[in-house]
Symmetry: D2
Subunit: 325 residues, 4 copies
């Protein structure tokens, strides 16, 4: 099997933040982003925001652009984190806004069907709190669960994936960790809700991404994943492998050991870098990881892990990883 690679289409956008309010580059249309994605050496699928970024483009036009670039759609990410949802989508104090979030995701579900994509991706970045005493935590969590549960129940033909994250833009997000998200998913109790595990979110949340992946797999809920890197204190969305190559290798080792065979996606934000070069840089490293996984002495690794022998386990990991480039 050839490993498939994917990326969030925002990898090829330009960005604003609270300081560079004029953006790190001129705005790009969705079609321009797709044409950039098409120039990456080995990219098969993309995850696309909805409403389509920039606006003024139809699904048919998007499809043409995708075909032209040999890309298909893996997921649709409804933008439930813009101004309207600044105080929350599923957990907004205003029931009207919560309903509007439901409507937007429902529209996104139709786009998933339209493109034959795998899932609706839910990243409820504004659902949470900033201050002590700001919210009733019991109500907030109930809304977090109910919001996703209603959508999953209403769309049993589709998969919904929750991309948890510790924080940003909220000071604390309600779906903040793998365990909390699994706890919520178990409460929802539907088969079509799972996790999209972002390596960087896991890392800066203090998890071992490999452990998080194993836990999600053991609950039958690892529906997707993406990678990047950071300094363990924030969602820097740096190029995958640039800072923590060994834990990245352990993450993919865990996926392979469990026979998990989904797409390897990128979720990087090249604020100041060339987006094609950054994607190629990451994928080139991931291909090295593929080779290292083929080369790794799995039996010896399992034996070392059975003894909790870190020195030997790391020797084996290095022997494979540092000779595959």
């Amino acid at each position: 099997m050839t490993q498939k690679y994917g990326a969030g289409i925002w990898h090829f956008a330009t960005y604003v933040d609270r300081y560079a309010t004029d953006g790190y580059g001129p705005p790009r249309t969705l079609v321009e982003m797709i044409d950039l994605a098409g120039q990456v050496d080995d990219l098969s699928v993309v995850d696309i925001n909805y409403p389509f970024p920039g606006g003024g483009v139809s699904a048919d036009e998007v499809e043409v652009a995708l075909k032209r670039n040999g890309l298909s759609v893996i997921g649709i990410t409804p933008e439930i984190y813009t101004r309207e949802f600044a105080k929350g989508a599923f957990t907004n104090p205003d029931a009207g806004v919560r309903r509007r979030a439901n409507e937007l995701v429902t529209e996104a579900a139709d786009v998933v069907r339209r493109f034959g994509a795998d899932y609706v991706k839910l990243w409820p970045g504004q659902d949470g709190w900033d201050y002590p005493f700001q919210v009733d935590h019991g109500v907030l969590w109930k809304h977090s669960i109910d919001g996703v549960g209603e959508l999953a129940a209403a769309n049993p033909d589709l998969k919904f994936v929750i991309e948890y994250k510790p924080r940003e833009p909220r000071v604390h997000m309600s779906y903040d960790s793998v365990a909390r998200t699994l706890l919520g998913i178990e409460k929802i109790g539907l088969p079509n809700v799972g996790i999209l595990l972002d390596f960087g979110h896991s890392l800066y949340g203090g998890e071992s991404p490999a452990d998080a992946a194993q836990l999600a797999i053991d609950h039958g809920r690892l529906f997707g994943m993406d990678v990047n890197d950071n300094m363990r204190g924030w969602d820097d969305d740096l190029m995958a492998g640039s800072v923590h190559p060994i834990e990245l290798f352990e993450f993919f080792y865990t996926l392979r050991r469990n026979g998990w065979e989904g797409v390897w996606q990128l979720d990087q934000f090249p604020f100041r870098e060339d987006s094609i070069a950054t994607a190629n840089g990451a994928i080139s490293f991931l291909k090295g990881i593929e080779r290292a996984l083929d080369k790794l002495d799995v039996e010896a690794m399992r034996a070392a892990q059975a003894r909790h022998d870190a020195v030997e386990a790391l020797r084996l990991a290095r022997e494979a990883l540092f000779t595959s480039f």
Copy 2:
């Protein structure tokens, strides 16, 4: 109802660490610790390590010392984190050590019965990992769950509480957060396993302790709690209220809102401070919190929280807290 206060008996010990290997003070016997605890202004219960620290003391002698000081036992903490268990108690790679952990906790269960205490406290500080690739995460988590489950099944007359913690002494502990621990407890599926929520562990794990308490309560698993403070990066076990008084107040507000009526315990490590003064300092602050809870305009708080109005909620909190001393 008069609020009851308690403390881990180690609050009155002296300590060693990897640098001050000669200890921050001369060793104390358990009886000496109990006699110090008895001098704190308002302390009713203690949590005692097992085997009894220092050794050479019988349960009867402990009971005499407790009576002399007007103290009773709330919990027993088996020392499943000493040399023998350096590579884990429930998750040790050696099945013989895992069995020995079970035996030690089983002995501790008898001590709980002997003293009519509330629970066996499990703090599996050596269960986890230090390095990438060191363990098979699926196996490790299974052992974490099975170890506790077997004990709870074998002792249905007793409560077992798990005190989760992100790390230390292991670089990563398997019971690392409220959500992960609840996930494990749900898997165990027995009514007599719950959580002891340490305010500081929650805080430095990136949780909101109030949110963690609410979640544990909503799962019917908040069996105990203790407080202290830290700088959000490590388990400093500082005096409660010394750094984060507002989140401490929110934590107790959450308990009261839910009608949770257990003991307010201290888990402080006064390495360089007088242990009695540190306990009195903390309890004196907690009594201020009690008064503030009585004074707080709960209806206005609930209204502010229903709007997610942080500025007003904090104004109400301050109005109560900063006028109760």
Copy 3:
């Protein structure tokens, strides 16, 4: 003396971030921001970005708006962190951009003179790096120092204040801490370069803000300061006093002990809150701190600190702070 209060004018702006690209509210003109600032109960001075936010407004119009609201200008903050400077202002790899940064700050210096303000504020948020191996650290630091030094030498009639910050938007900023900034200032060797100490930057950089203030004062370089709050992991710019009231009190205690008598400024970002209410909430807390400073038993505090007696020092601090509201 009556304590004067100030704020960065951006406190009254609306914000964008990389997710809510449509902003947390409709854009505001500088004049609208000034009119909001004027509604705060007790605000005397503001720090204004240059070029004036929104554009299309003259210095005379700004002056009219300020007068109308009883405000004067304490500092001017040139925007050396927008798109043009995305790879750095003083440290940009392109000498032409470094020159453009110099020109922009030089223009800002004239605006300082025009308004009779106290200082040019330098916040070089894009000066630093994101990745390992990205820069030659010796060159980068030299550029950081030279860029400020040239401006200070060319404008000896004005003060330049550097607002250091650990990170954001760069993954690592070159002026990242009080000590590093003082080291650079000593190297520059001019009397008109100092520090603007942001309480929150210090806190999330792992400093004690009180210690940072003392160090800057002891070097004769504390030229300004502002306050806010956060969770110690990021520059959340929350309402001052909302999370860390005790360290905030210690910070102001240190200023008073040293006879430092500047303006108490706010640097808050009320993304989702009413900006006037957030400013009033903070200032109301700071006025409580003023009262607490008057009430504090300074002799007893000095005696406790001479013994490093934390329990007693905190008792004294609480006795003053928690009874001043």
Copy 4:
């Protein structure tokens, strides 16, 4: 030139912490530690604590053991962090204890002379504070500087190196960062005081170790260094290269670029691992780094850094590092 390797002799000790009070293994004598160090494949020098750990051994006996193992002494580390110094060595509130610290370091200076070692290593781990309001920061810092300055002035024939660290065992250490330490050293103003840069301390203090090294070198103060690894939140003292190989490579690249030619030392704490295997594992990785440094295309790297081109710089770094094993 053949690269020399060294280690703190405590690498070969066993450890206690506040939980495993019976230690992670049976105590070892200094001679036993030296005999273990001698079994490491390529170790030339050691840093030895003073008083000699375990006691009851003379300098002559130590010398015999060292010779037997082909080892010499690079530095002596006086134990200014044991019980007596729990509230500080140089900054202790008790002048008598401060004097005793001076005496102990003075004795250690004689041991340096006795062994022809390079330096007295000062690691003032108990000098700092735990709580807000605990200390007068101006006094504390003055004592930190004076304590070192007096020793350096009294022993002009010897070098004194300060090993800074953000925290542990104190919640905050006074010599907490490279910049703070350099600021203090400049204040002391003597040529024989420098920095021993611990890679892990720098990393978990939020520094870039490569940048810290460059800064110390540019001030002419990088007198020594050691390496290990951690999770960026604590001084885990893990095996070098196990988590952050790329930043470790950048660190050594910076040393070579500056022609810094000292010993590459280990400061690891193998709590649960075999100490010889852990040392060999680290040195084997460091030898790979040596080869990678020989292979790296330095001109291309400098050109990429001149453009701040992270993608290309990292490609070059990987091309060298991931092919040298």
